[in-house]
């Protein structure tokens, strides 16, 4: 009986269901009309190098400071074929005012050097311009933003060329000295010149090897020395001794002690929570905190990760994407730095059962003042259906709408055809590309075109975009916490440079306000420790807050 049941309950990702519910905002695929022509080079080969199926990511950042977020997308490459590798090209797209983007890669000076994975952006040198870090299967690269639309490779001088296989990265002022340090998550030690055989020679089938086939790697922690150089402090920080198959990272102060902590999603190994104890030292506390494994004590294949306070209790919650038949996990923040496994309780569990999740973001897509969740999915194995009944390679994206502050309902099939389209998705980033007050999405796909999904109708409800300007060299105030109060509801947003899977969101804090026409109060807890409060802020505008100077600019949304 039990065996029969197992066969019966295998299910997989459902396909496109095109009908739309017009009551909800609709996501429209504007990739082509916006001029985003990027198509990922995965270099898929008969050798089945694992890296071929893992990338790549992308991000939103306003590299030229014009108030319109731009797009950077990482390309993969090829380990098996040099001619394919040469065709790979990262892409930088300049936002021309919300509707279209211009490919400015050529003149930007950004070049493809290694098999690309992920990216994060932060102003490491405090010149007011976001710089760009690219992770690779091979030496990583740091590009300094020169402020004239061009970037310079400063990897060698900055000493951040981690040579191993890196995945996600994040800039954060980990030691609270005012400048941005850098956290690089490394995946596994896979020989780039030779891929082990995993498969079945009897039926002449080969597939990508399980990550436990390889040796795990520790994260790399770079301390910013403030002179354009970084030091590798992985060992001294206590991080270097802990090896894992790291993929996703997000930096947030989960215990509200003023020090940024680091969550790392690990593939088939326990997730890490590095509690920052000060002076760039960390204690790994994932197991005790309750985020390392599932409620059943079993590890999951953690890929993407994000933090957000979805139940508005003032404590950070966590979402992690996993493999199919594992469920993507949700951990609800409790008191004393503990987390409850709320995967099923939240409604996220069962609907994610058939999906292999990667990119993920807490975001409020309908501006109802409750954090929703977007998830990009796609299998690792291009021949998955051959091995796993119910598995599909290309999978649709998921959109979980927060309905009761504790419970989500998956509404992806009713929010426009773009969410129903299947793809082999990896990276996902949220940002307001057209400054109209609702959050749009960038999705990167393995071996396929990227997707830019415009949110139409999210701004039927009110919202606010808050852009922070730090006083010190952390000019984007990465690590700041913004607390917005309307009536009895308090929302919090952390400014995070590096999240999801290989990706990064718009650095502006977006708050849905529902029908409320103004925020009663906005508190900013700056990375410096200073707190600033602004009262009575009207809805439907972007406000710039400069540390110590309150609101320095206000612009109504473009509609």
């Amino acid at each position: 009986m039990r065996r029969a049941l197992v066969a019966l309950v295998l299910v997989s990702a459902s396909g496109l269901v095109p009908h739309a519910d017009t009551a909800l905002p609709q996501f429209v695929d504007i990739t082509q009309q916006a001029g985003i022509t990027f198509r990922h080079t995965n270099g898929a080969s008969a050798d089945k190098h694992l890296v071929e199926t893992m990338g790549s990511g992308g991000l939103f950042f306003d590299y030229d400071g014009d108030g319109w977020i731009d797009i950077f997308i990482v390309d993969g490459g090829s380990l098996a074929d040099a001619s394919v590798a040469r065709r790979a090209q990262h892409r930088l797209y300049h936002n021309r005012g919300g509707a279209t983007f211009e490919d400015v890669t050529e003149r930007s000076g950004i070049r493809h050097r290694e098999y690309g994975m992920g990216t994060c952006a932060g102003d490491y040198d405090g010149d007011g311009r976001p710089d760009l870090y690219i992770t690779n299967d091979g030496p990583n690269v740091l590009y300094r933003n020169r402020g004239d639309g061009t970037f310079t490779d400063v990897t060698t001088v900055a000493r951040v060329g981690e040579p191993r296989w890196s995945a996600s990265c994040a800039f954060a002022d980990l030691d609270r000295d005012g400048d941005l340090d850098l956290w690089v998550v490394n995946y596994v030690a896979a020989d780039r010149s030779h891929s082990p055989f995993c498969g079945d020679t009897r039926v002449n089938v080969r597939f990508y090897c399980h990550p436990l086939r390889y040796d795990p790697l520790p994260s790399t922690v770079y301390r910013n020395e403030g002179n354009g150089r970084f030091s590798d402090v992985s060992a001294a920080s206590g991080v270097g001794a802990l090896r894992s198959n790291g993929l996703g990272v997000v930096v947030s102060d989960y215990d509200n002690d003023g020090l940024p902590d680091v969550f790392v999603a690990n593939d088939t190994m326990p997730n890490f929570l590095f509690r920052n104890t000060g002076n760039l030292r960390f204690v790994e506390t994932g197991l005790a905190a309750g985020i390392a494994v599932g409620a059943d004590g079993k590890v999951r294949a953690g890929m993407g990760i994000d933090t957000g306070d979805y139940d508005a209790d003032g404590r950070l919650d966590l979402v992690i994407t996993n493999l199919d038949f594992e469920m993507h996990t949700v951990h609800r923040g409790l008191e004393r730095g503990l987390f409850a496994y709320s995967t099923v309780e939240s409604g996220v569990g069962y609907p994610t059962l058939p999906f292999v999740g990667f990119g993920v973001a807490f975001f409020d897509f309908d501006n109802d003042a409750q954090l929703d969740i977007a998830i990009a999915n796609g299998h690792i194995l291009d021949n998955a259906p051959q091995f796993r009944a119910g598995s599909t390679y290309a999978q649709r994206k998921l959109l979980f709408r927060n309905t009761t502050m504790r419970r989500f309902v998956e509404v992806g099939r009713t929010t426009g055809p773009a969410f129903g389209v299947t793809g082999v998705s990896r990276g996902l980033a949220a940002g307001d590309i057209d400054n109209d007050g609702d959050l749009d999405l960038l999705v990167t796909n393995n071996g396929q075109a990227a997707e830019l999904l415009r949110n139409d109708g999210g701004n039927r409800a009110n919202s606010l975009l808050v852009r922070l300007h730090g006083a010190g060299s952390n000019t984007d105030a990465i690590g700041a916490r913004v607390r917005l109060v309307t009536g009895s509801r308090t929302q919090i947003r952390d400014i995070k440079a590096g999240t999801s899977y290989l990706s990064q969101n718009d650095l502006r804090a977006h708050f849905g306000l529902g029908n409320t026409s103004a925020a009663e109060r906005i508190d900013v807890l700056w990375p410096s420790g200073r707190t600033e409060t602004i009262t009575n802020v009207m809805a439907n505008e972007t406000i710039d807050i400069e540390e110590g100077k309150s609101v320095v600019a206000q612009r109504p949304f473009a509609r």
Binding site: A7, S14, G15, F197, F207, R213, G297, V344, F387, A389
Partner: protein, 436 residues
């Protein structure tokens, strides 16, 4: 293959029934099993095999009815007659006899239970709920089975359900019922044809669909008549038979068409003779993936009613209740699983997890400790215990549990790493590497 007629909790004796009628039921059920196997025969032998099985069923029914006549002749006990009628599918006759028995002994708890189950089968949930409540009210305080029936019946009064749940909760707290293994299965099954008889679902093709539906509904004579009807001249629509829906559902599952698979399983149910519980589990899981948790609860409730003595179904229903935030409903189902097997560590661990999710951390500690007493290597429970201890501030005990957990987990991980490394050796190829 004998039918299991579980009367363990009944104080009534059914001597006549046990000695004669149950053997006749077994003969009939065996013939039904042969019918199920006949439908899977190659086409040239299939019709003859179905005919032969139908004849055996008809003969068995005749003997069975003769046995019932003996009961009618020699037993003046309404209960014996009622049980005989109920198993035979004569629900109205059974109810009449149970009513008569209750008129003689109004406080006969077990007879009230028989009456309640019969009313349930007749689709009268409100009347059934009243009878369950009467059975429970007249029962011994230690009778947790009847408390379960009341606690899980939506038609029961809220006060009764609350008190019944409290009784189950108190019993779990005191742990008295776990001291010894039950010698018989706790839940009464009055259907002649057990759902799990063949271990796999058996679903009708077009020509047997009507008969299978009649058998599943307990209309045995009508089923025999239907099976003896000549196959209609007009061909069956092959795409619209229960079996074709079942096969389509399985295919849709494989390619990830969740909504379609669910719909086809529901259509297949109309002609499912065996394994309806399993199909309901599939429907439930698909409903959960589709974001329809209440439909999942409904399907699993049906599965439990069909297989009340299989703890697997109770545990699945408990999970479905828990996902809806119905802690009490989930607890009752887990208690049912424990009434069947009180020494199942995974059920105790599931109760621990339920309490943990409900932030009843002290209760969770107790449940996880029970699980670990029964199965010290259950690292799921070890992790749960550590989590609960952490939450209640017993940090040193929690640390100790986490260390033990982590040691076991690491050891398992290293073993897995070695297994995977050996799997990729081309001289010993397997497909395991694909499965994480």
């Amino acid at each position: 293959m004998p039918a299991k007629i579980c009367v363990a909790s009944l104080a009534v004796t059914m001597t006549v029934w046990a000695s004669t009628a149950s053997a006749q039921v077994e003969t009939f059920v065996y013939a039904v099993a042969q019918l199920a196997q006949a439908t899977a025969q190659p086409s040239d032998a299939r019709a003859a095999a179905i005919r032969a099985a139908t004849n055996r069923m008809a003969n068995a029914l005749a003997e069975w009815d003769s046995g019932i006549a003996t009961v009618e002749r020699y037993s003046e006990r309404h209960v014996d007659r009622g049980v005989a009628y109920r198993v035979r599918g004569r629900l109205a006759d059974a109810l009449r006899e149970f009513d008569a028995a209750i008129a003689e002994r109004p406080n006969a708890s077990d007879v009230q239970l028989l009456r309640a189950l019969t009313l349930d089968s007749m689709g009268q949930p409100e009347d059934a709920a009243r009878s369950f409540a009467a059975a429970w009210a007249a029962a011994d305080r230690s009778d947790l089975v009847k408390a379960y029936y009341v606690a899980t019946r939506a038609a029961a009064s809220a006060a009764d359900r609350e008190r019944a749940h409290a009784q189950l909760a108190e019993a779990y707290r005191q742990e008295s019922f776990t001291a010894r293994l039950p010698t018989t299965l706790p839940f009464l099954v009055l259907d002649a044809i057990p759902d799990n008889l063949l271990g796999v679902p058996v679903v009708a093709a077009g020509d047997t669909a009507h008969a299978f539906a009649l058998l599943a509904a307990g209309h045995f004579n009508e089923a025999v008549v239907a099976l003896r009807q000549p196959v209609p001249a007009a061909p069956f629509d092959d795409a619209d038979t229960p079996l074709s829906h079942f096969l389509r559902a399985q295919q849709d599952e494989r390619i990830g068409e969740v909504a379609s698979a669910r719909s086809h399983y529901q259509k297949a149910m109309t002609g499912a003779l065996f394994g309806r519980g399993a199909i309901n589990v599939a429907i439930a899981r698909l409903a959960q993936v589709e974001g329809d948790p209440s439909a999942a609860v409904d399907a699993l409730t049906r599965a439990v009613r069909l297989n009340p003595n299989d703890p697997y179904f109770h545990k699945e229903l408990a999970l479905a209740h828990a996902s809806e935030g119905h802690v009490e409903g989930a607890f009752c189902e887990l208690m049912a699983a424990l009434l069947i097997d009180p020494r199942d560590a995974t059920t105790h661990a599931a109760i621990g997890q339920l309490f943990l999710d409900a932030e009843r951390d002290e209760d969770a500690v107790r449940a996880f400790n029970r699980a670990l007493t029964l199965e010290p290597d259950a690292f799921e429970a070890r992790y749960g215990l550590a989590t609960a201890l952490t939450r209640i501030g017993k940090t040193s005990e929690a640390r100790e549990q986490l260390e033990q957990f982590e040691q076991a987990r690491r050891s398992a991980q290293e073993q897995r790493r070695r297994d995977i490394a050996s799997d990729v050796d081309p001289s010993r190829p397997t497909a395991q590497g694909a499965v994480r």
